[in-house]
């Protein structure tokens, strides 16, 4: 009836595990309590959970990402604490628990923090930047969100019921196969990744069609914003490379559930093919994450240097080059698996070549800042911190691209330092810069600058303290993922690293305080014009937040910075002669219901509750058919209602119009 699920699944075997479960359950209950106290359930359901509006979906993605950032960071703190104290000792975490923590840390940060953060920012801003009312497939957009949330929910539930994977965020067989890992941990990982991966593939399709077919009249590809360019290239990568991880995880699932032999030791399995398939996705994935961050930096640096972006065309071509090349380098993740020198050399050279277009971008950003009038808004600080720190990481990357060098440091903390040195300044600083840059657009008031700056400095200093020692101790020979060690010369480095994690914690606390202070003072920092930083792209021409239809009259574009042009010509903030009715897709529960059943399906497969698998699959099927048969899932905003909303906007603008 309940498959493998029994009372033993509760984490009562360890105080720490029970604590984690208590915090998870307690946190969920607290949220439910607050919602009940605020009587906000109906509002949440009708205005948010059933929404198909890209702006709302974007915000929900970012909320998910920030919550998962907290969870993933707690994992990081626990690991740093363990390693700082575990010299010739067991520390406070037994090996199996430590293994779950490093596995969930990586899985959460990549799939449930970085991907949703990126998807959320693209969702929120890209349709505004291309001058359209919504993405091409609003309902599919909502489905992507709820599938991602279902995956995140599976990871969170693993804290309470059962255990998470101990096979790392990459899940290599044969260790992750059923013979060596018969528990539910790896299955939680597989289904969280598979379900959210489907969501990501669909988002990629949605964004591609939106950017290719829904741009405002006059907006040629070379007139798009840099962020939209990077969103397009990242979306192309999403569509074409996520299938690889679907195959990798799918085949692993077949091995585990159906006794197949894709990656088993015996019976004709080939476990090296898993690494091959996984990294065909895995390498492009990190470019999926970093390219939109580069796009954000392009916009932020230009805006806060009060200068036109330098070298727009080279940035566009560099982005496309990076995207294409990223699909040709994947073997560098397994140089040491045993391929011949020729194979290693080809992929090593390809890896180095990717650094070139990235370097082009760095020069473009520097030259944009040169002779600009810099405004040190926190987003600009994140950008400058990124440029310096990311370049260091890039250099260690070029070093790692040399196979013989990689043989010495593969899977040491040197590697761990390298990829954090790319992802934290590259991806995370970029998204935090975007978060602080576009927050006023989303909510109508600015974030507190002082606390933003504090957060930045803590993150920057904390990052260096946490990861520079890892380069050094990696060169001294320390492997990654170690729960205990016996070389006393390593410990001082690990203690500095732990200190760095604490400093980053201060950065995260600063962000939370920033949010509280900004909400408290929102009337003082209100964005009444929609253009708090004198931006040039179309999103700044709307109110903050924008109306549901984005633009009462769809813009026509003749320039790379259409809004700045309009401001210069005096054509900005013009009232149209009349308004026309606007059709808007209706809210629907179908997407969140689909996500809910996806969660149940995943949970049921993990615990071998087969009847529930069938039931939830049928339920998902029926939901999709019912929704797809609906030909008129939209309502019309009358011209009068549009006028009312627009009149309020012009009233807020005061003397501008």
């Amino acid at each position: 009836m309940f498959g493998k699920l029994t009372i033993e699944a509760l984490p009562l075997y360890s105080a720490i595990a029970a604590g984690g479960a208590a915090v998870t359950v307690g946190g969920a209950l607290l949220v439910a309590l607050v919602l009940t106290w605020l009587k906000a359930w109906k509002y949440l359901w009708t205005d948010w959970l059933t929404s198909v509006d890209h702006k709302r979906i974007g915000i929900m993605y970012i909320v998910l990402a920030l919550i998962m950032l907290l969870r993933g960071f707690i994992d990081a703190l626990m690991m740093r604490a363990q390693q700082a104290m575990a010299l010739n000792a067991g520390g406070y975490l037994p090996p199996e628990h430590f293994d779950q923590i490093f596995s969930s840390h990586g899985t959460i940060m990549i799939f449930f923090m970085a991907m949703p953060f990126m998807t959320g920012l693209i969702n929120l801003i890209m349709p505004l930047q291309v001058g359209t009312r919504d993405v091409a497939f609003p309902w599919l957009n909502a489905v992507s969100l709820w599938l991602t949330a279902a995956g995140a929910a599976l990871v969170m539930v693993s804290l309470v019921i059962g255990k998470f994977s101990t096979a790392g965020w990459t899940g290599y067989p044969p260790y992750s196969g059923i013979e060596h890992n018969p528990g539910v941990g790896v299955d939680y990982w597989i289904w969280a990744v598979l379900i959210s991966g489907i969501g990501s593939t669909m988002s990629g399709i949605n964004f591609m069609v939106t950017i290719l077919k829904r741009r405002a009249p006059g907006m040629t590809l070379m007139r798009m914003t840099p962020f939209t360019w990077t969103a397009l290239c990242a979306s192309v990568l999403m569509v074409f490379t996520f299938p690889a991880i679907t195959v990798a995880c799918g085949l692993l699932a077949l091995d585990r559930v159906a006794g197949m032999h894709f990656f088993t030791n015996a019976h004709g399995g080939n476990m090296m093919n898993y690494a091959n398939l996984f990294w065909i996705w895995g390498h492009p994935e990190v470019y999926i994450l970093v390219l939109p961050a580069f796009g954000i930096f392009s916009e932020v640096v230009a805006t806060f240097s009060r200068k036109r972006l330098f070298g727009y065309e080279s940035l566009a071509y560099a982005t496309a080059a990076i995207a294409f090349l990223s699909a040709t380098v994947w073997l560098h993740h397994f140089f040491t698996m045993g391929a011949s020198a020729n194979v290693n050399a080809v992929f090593g050279i390809a890896t180095m070549i990717i650094a070139v277009p990235t370097g082009v971008k760095v020069f473009n950003w520097l030259l944009t800042m040169y002779r600009g009038r810099i405004d040190f808004h926190p987003s600009m600080m994140w950008s400058i911190g990124f440029i310096v720190t990311f370049v260091i990481g890039g250099m260690t990357g070029v070093l790692l691209a040399i196979p013989p060098a990689d043989f010495l440091v593969h899977n040491t903390t040197f590697l761990v330092a390298h990829f954090h040195n790319m992802i934290i300044p590259g991806v995370l600083f970029g998204y935090l810069a975007g978060y602080m840059y576009w927050f006023p657009k989303a909510f109508g008031f600015e974030l507190n600058r002082g606390w933003g700056a504090a957060s930045f400095w803590c993150w920057l200093i904390g990052f260096y303290l946490a990861f520079m020692p890892l380069y050094l101790v990696g060169l001294k020979g320390m492997p990654r993922r170690m729960e205990t060690y016996n070389d006393p010369t390593w410990q001082p480095y690990l203690m500095v690293a732990a200190l760095g994690a604490v400093v980053v914690l201060c950065g995260i606390v600063s962000m939370v305080v920033q949010l509280y202070v900004s909400i408290r003072d929102r009337k003082l920092a209100a964005d009444r014009t929609g253009d708090p930083f004198d931006g040039g792209a179309l999103e700044w021409s709307t109110s903050s937040p924008p109306p549901p239809y984005n633009f009462a009259v769809l813009p026509t574009v003749g320039d790379r910075e259409p809004f700045r042009e309009a401001k210069k010509n005096g054509t900005a903030y013009r009232r149209p002669a009349s308004y026309t009715p606007i059709r808007i897709p209706s809210n629907t529960p179908a997407a969140v219901i689909l996500g809910g059943f996806a969660f149940v399906l995943g949970f049921a497969v993990i615990w071998h509750i087969w009847w529930l698998v069938v039931v939830s699959a049928i339920a998902m099927f029926i939901t999709v058919i019912a929704r797809s048969s609906d030909d008129h899932a939209e309502f019309t905003l009358s011209a009068g209602e549009v006028k009312r909303i627009e009149d309020e906007r012009f009233r807020q603008l005061g003397g501008r119009a």
């Binding site: 074409f240 080939n270 030909d631």
Partner: protein, 194 residues
């Protein structure tokens, strides 16, 4: 063209591009399953090989069924485009029956192999075979369900613009599956029986 008609056309173009991109991502999945199959051909673990298991006549019959069904679907599309309800439903029914025939032959083939101990859990080679060919078969089955749903929609709503446009996307799907089958008999069955 009125404003409304222009928006409708744009919406359909976007849906067609979106569906086409989905098919491209599916093509990558199939390509990687093909690659995995090729990598695992020798992984028979001393067990049954393709030469011993595959039946040329069965593969030929499946090929005929699928190819004819692609053609009859084309006839259904033509009927739909000229507003011929009866023709559309009729040719969809023929396509459906041919597709059912294909799935029946494939299930029988799989059952036969499992009965002689050559199931997907016997060896890596067989895991790859069953997954590649089986994934195609599952897609065909989904297509058959979709044909039923489209037939119902034609009966209930008639050949409206949204219905015809959905039928077009089903056509893309169905023809794509026939292309995948060309790959399957060319990479799995024919070389296996050589």
């Amino acid at each position: 063209m009125s404003e409304h008609e222009r928006e409708e056309t744009e919406t359909q173009e976007q849906r067609n591009l979106g569906f086409w991109l989905y098919l491209m991502s599916d093509a990558v999945i199939f390509a990687l399953l093909f690659a995995t199959y090729a990598i695992m051909i020798r992984g028979t673990d001393g067990g049954p090989t393709g030469k011993q298991l595959f039946d040329l006549n069965n593969a030929a019959l499946e090929t005929v069924l699928l190819l004819v069904s692609s053609t009859t679907f084309g006839f259904a599309s033509l009927s739909a485009r000229t507003g011929n309800r009866g023709g559309a439903i009729g040719w969809l029914a023929v396509t459906f029956l041919l597709g059912v025939g294909f799935v029946f032959l494939e299930v029988r083939e799989f059952a036969g192999m499992i009965a002689v101990g050559a199931g997907p859990d016997r060896s890596g080679f067989l895991s790859a075979f069953f997954t590649l060919v089986g994934t195609h078969g599952v897609h065909v089955t989904m297509g058959l369900l979709w044909i039923l749903i489209m037939s119902a929609q034609i009966v209930l709503k008639g050949l409206t613009a949204p219905v015809v446009s959905r039928l077009y996307r089903l056509g893309l799907f169905w023809h794509f599956l026939d292309i995948a089958w060309v790959g399957i008999f060319s990479i799995v069955y024919l070389p296996g029986l050589l």
